[in-house]
């Protein structure tokens, strides 16, 4: 009997270990380099154009986690208590709260059994740990923070820029604030969420970030592109 118990304890320890291992300290997060690090957006923001129809900002080094599950009522309840917000169950919807104990949390519907959780970068470890400690049943939670970045695009011509890039209908009647879609973006893909009438969030993959940055610069050229630090 004791043997079995020891094994179980070890397994649990391993389970925790294999998640994001150790929380990154504030000091270490200083050396983190977002996918557009090489583009030196800070100096473009400082020296580049200050007026234009499209505004661009990289919300870098955020915590992004993919949650996969077909949540039971208990799981939904637990997830709500862990995130401070209930999972959006309606297709193509999202929720955001500032109220949670871990700060601002956004949850984006991706598919009937997939959500993207967006939090501050230094909170990913806590979330991962709490899910694995407390959420029972079949699910998967994967940290994709290193592989993903967020482009915040806005401005008076942001819709035109997006219309050059994605085939989804962005008209307010079809794409209200809060709606989220995963779709084609140029020759790559993006998860697009409307944050305000003229503000969108694009969640993109790291390896495509430079291509998409080039694309957005090009698509914005006729409207003027303003980079925000």
């Amino acid at each position: 009997m004791s043997d079995v118990k020891v094994e179980a304890v070890e397994l649990e320890a391993t389970d925790k270990l294999v998640m994001n291992q150790v929380p990154l300290s504030a000091e270490l997060s200083e050396i983190g380099e977002s996918p557009l690090h090489h583009a030196d957006l800070a100096s473009i923001a400082e020296h580049g154009p200050q007026e234009g129809g499209v505004h661009f900002h990289e919300r870098k080094l955020m915590g992004l986690l993919t949650l996969r599950c077909l949540p039971s009522a208990e799981q939904q309840e637990m997830i709500k208590s862990l995130l401070g917000v209930a999972l959006p169950m309606q297709p193509l919807t999202s929720v955001t709260t500032d109220e949670s104990t871990i700060g601002k949390v956004s949850v984006r519907w991706v598919s009937p059994d997939e959500w993207l959780i967006i939090i501050e970068g230094d909170k990913a470890f806590d979330i991962e740990s709490s899910f694995h400690d407390k959420l029972m049943g079949h699910f998967s939670l994967v940290n994709i923070s290193g592989g993903t970045t967020i482009f915040d695009v806005s401005g008076s011509h942001v819709v035109e820029m997006l219309k050059k890039s994605t085939p989804v209908d962005l008209h307010a009647s079809e794409f209200p604030v809060g709606k989220v879609v995963s779709t084609v973006f140029a020759k790559s893909g993006a998860m697009i969420c409307r944050l305000a009438d003229d503000q969108f969030e694009l969640v993109v993959r790291r390896s495509f970030a430079d291509y998409l940055w080039l694309w957005i610069q090009d698509a914005s050229r006729e409207y003027g592109l303003v980079v925000k630090a």
Partner: protein, 97 residues
């Protein structure tokens, strides 16, 4: 250029987001080792390929990444219905009824 209703996202999306994955409803034999070469070959390669009503598997690759089925007329390109994996089509070709 198809306009396809994704039964998971519950809205129409452009064909560029999807990918056709061939004929639907071709279950993998439960005991492959008991299949003859002929049976295995037919499972892998032989297809109905009708001119008319066809049930096919598509995936919303750039969207929710879910597979689902489409009943489509291969001649007129009309999409007659979409339904989830595991469900049965409600529209079938006359002779198959």
């Amino acid at each position: 250029m198809f306009h396809i209703y994704c039964p998971h996202c519950c809205e129409y999306r452009e064909e560029e987001e999807f990918h056709a994955s061939g004929q639907a409803h071709i279950p993998r034999p439960l005991d492959p080792d008991a299949c003859t070469d002929k049976e295995w070959g037919e499972f892998m390669y032989f297809r109905a390929n009708p001119r008319g009503i066809h049930h096919e598997l598509w995936v919303h690759g750039a969207g929710c990444r879910k597979y689902f089925n489409i009943t489509r007329n291969t001649h007129t390109y009309e999409i007659l219905e979409v339904y989830k994996v595991g469900e049965k089509p409600s529209i079938v070709a006359n002779e198959a009824k």
